[in-house]
Amino acid sequence: MLPPIFGVLFDGVAYGMLLFVLSVGLSVTLGLMNFVNLAHCAFAMLGGYVTVVLMRDFNWPFFATLPAAFFASAVVSIIVERTLYRRLYRATDLDQVLLTIGLAFISVAVAAWFFTTQQQPITMPGYLRGSIDFFGLNIGLYRLFLVVVGIAVTILLIVTVEHTRFGAQVRAAVDNQRMARGLGINVDRTFAITFALGSGLAGLGGALAIEIVGLDPQFALHYLVYVLIIVSVGGLGSILGSFAAACLIGISDIAGKYYVPELGAFLIYLVMVAVLMWRPAGLFGKR
């Protein structure tokens, strides 16, 4: 029999994985092009609504909606990138903030218009409901699924970035944009693809999040703070950093709440401030 804290910690990791999938895309785009995309969670929200609509109105199975959520967010993000974001790569951070927060505002209103302000519950397939017994611990099946997805995404991303030509281009562009251009790398296209990947992952995260945190039009703004925390604690542009930060935040938040519930509301921010004071560039950050 394992003590109950392990079960709690497992839930923390699962929650962390959700945050990881939601935030890793922003970490990479912020690190790569220095583009402050505060509309990141709007793409996540889009993925969530795609899943809801496909499941509820078209009776798609949950698993089939996940790639759809990914692609929908990726495609919309490419459109937005081509029409709006491109023009602002050289603009000030503040203009980028204003534009992207404006887009987030628009997404909130549009979501409220099409889907009303209601929560959008979905019914998970039977094999993701309930829990299994693991040495006396209850392990929620959906949470187990989240952990698997989180680890799979991490491995997939690391393999892509470390072992493919595209990954090499991304790394070169992150390290030194000017030099990458000099080497004949099409930095703009690299960025567009990375951006679409990041937004697609956000869309996937949004779809996965419904079961844990629900979905309503405020999603685009509400989870922005959490995503920014993961990105800054992990370090800009670092996949492993985001992964570590997500685990750290998930575990310390849950363990802290278990042992010192009085500090529940403070924990996540205390951990962030402490990590940043110790390592201003984040756990795996370079700058």
């Binding site: 503040l94 204003l98 534009l99 887009l103 962030m272 940043l276």
Partner: protein, 327 residues
């Protein structure tokens, strides 16, 4: 435009001279008393938001410190003014000073942390500190009233003569007066040697130590001053509406003020005032039309401004003006 004077001292003096447009602007702030007597409540809220944005401008626009936790000082000022009226007395000006001092104290203490960081880390540190204070205020509901809001504020008549009326005449006059006085201080600060150092920090953080400047000391000082100003803004809202809610400390308030300032044009004295006015008037009008969907129109407004007038409304307009002059 007159050619710049040959004497450098006279030239620098000329930079801080009052321009006719400025005087016209401040005279125009009096117009709502006659033109929009039914909108003075909104006008009061704009004056307070403008003061808050002005305080943020000192650190964001002039020293390059982007803060997503500035509501902390607004909230400290609001709660201090509320507590002051409840436990000391209801006189407004002393309450205002108490709020400014308390916010300055919070600002001074946190400035030692803030001055050590830059960029995203700085943004997240300010955000973290702001949210910690928000949570603390929620937990301390025996003092703050928690999420139900602070109860029991009653204000004396301003200067013993004017009570806060339902039309908001006193409220607007009082807030506008305070805004103007604080604006004069900020204006002087910007045109001071200290203000020049702040601009130096914003323009080139790396060069400052190489000309012998202790940037962190400057940042600590401006952060404290800015906190005091934000505290005054918070106190104004507490005094003129006789309520304080936890929202005064919220992330949304911090984010809104950044949006207002950037919309108007950061690093320009009037940026915050213009941004606050346009944001709040637009919000009031849009939400009057569609209370559920005004976010859409505000979003469109922000996107349009970025696309058409980079660097905020004032920044974009002055760039357009410069272009037009050159032709």
């Amino acid at each position: 435009m007159a050619p710049p004077p040959a004497n450098p001292q006279a030239y620098l003096q000329s930079l801080s001279r009052w321009r006719p447009l400025e005087i016209a602007f401040w005279l125009a702030t009096l117009l709502p008393f006659w033109l929009f007597p039914n909108y003075l409540g909104l006008a009061n809220q704009i004056a307070v938001a403008a003061l808050f944005a002005l305080s943020l401008d000192l650190i964001l626009g002039y020293a390059g410190i982007v803060s997503l936790g500035h509501a902390a000082f607004f909230g400290v000022g609001a709660y201090t003014a509320g507590l002051f009226s409840k436990f000391v007395w209801g006189e407004v000006f002393t309450g205002l000073i108490a709020a400014a001092l308390m916010a300055a104290l919070f600002g001074y203490v946190s400035s030692f942390i803030v001055a050590r960081f830059r960029h995203l880390t700085l943004i997240m540190i300010t955000l973290g500190l702001g949210l910690l204070l928000h949570s603390a205020a929620n937990s301390a509901h025996f003092i703050t009233g928690g999420s139900d809001g602070f109860q029991g504020i009653s204000m004396w008549k301003v200067a013993g003569l004017f009570r806060f009326d339902l039309y908001g005449q006193t409220a607007y006059a009082y807030s506008l007066g305070v805004l103007f006085i604080v604006f004069l201080c900020a204006r002087r600060l910007i045109n001071s040697p200290f203000g020049l150092s702040l601009r130096g920090i914003r323009e080139n953080w790396v060069r400052m130590p190489a000309i012998g400047a202790d940037s962190r000391a400057h940042i600590r000082k401006v952060y404290t001053i800015s906190a005091a100003m934000a505290g005054i803004a918070g106190a104004l809202i507490a005094q003129t509406t006789q309520t304080v809610s936890l929202d005064a400390l919220s992330f949304e308030r911090s984010a809104d003020v950044v949006v207002m300032l950037v919309l108007g044009g950061a690093g320009r004295l009037y940026g915050g005032i213009v941004g606050a006015s346009i944001f709040l008037i637009a919000r009031d009008q849009f939400s009057g039309i569609a209370p559920q969907y005004w976010y859409f129109w505000i979003g469109v407004l922000l996107v349009m401004v970025v696309m058409l007038l980079p660097n905020g409304i004032l920044g974009g307009l002055s760039a357009l003006l410069a272009k037009w002059r050159r032709k």
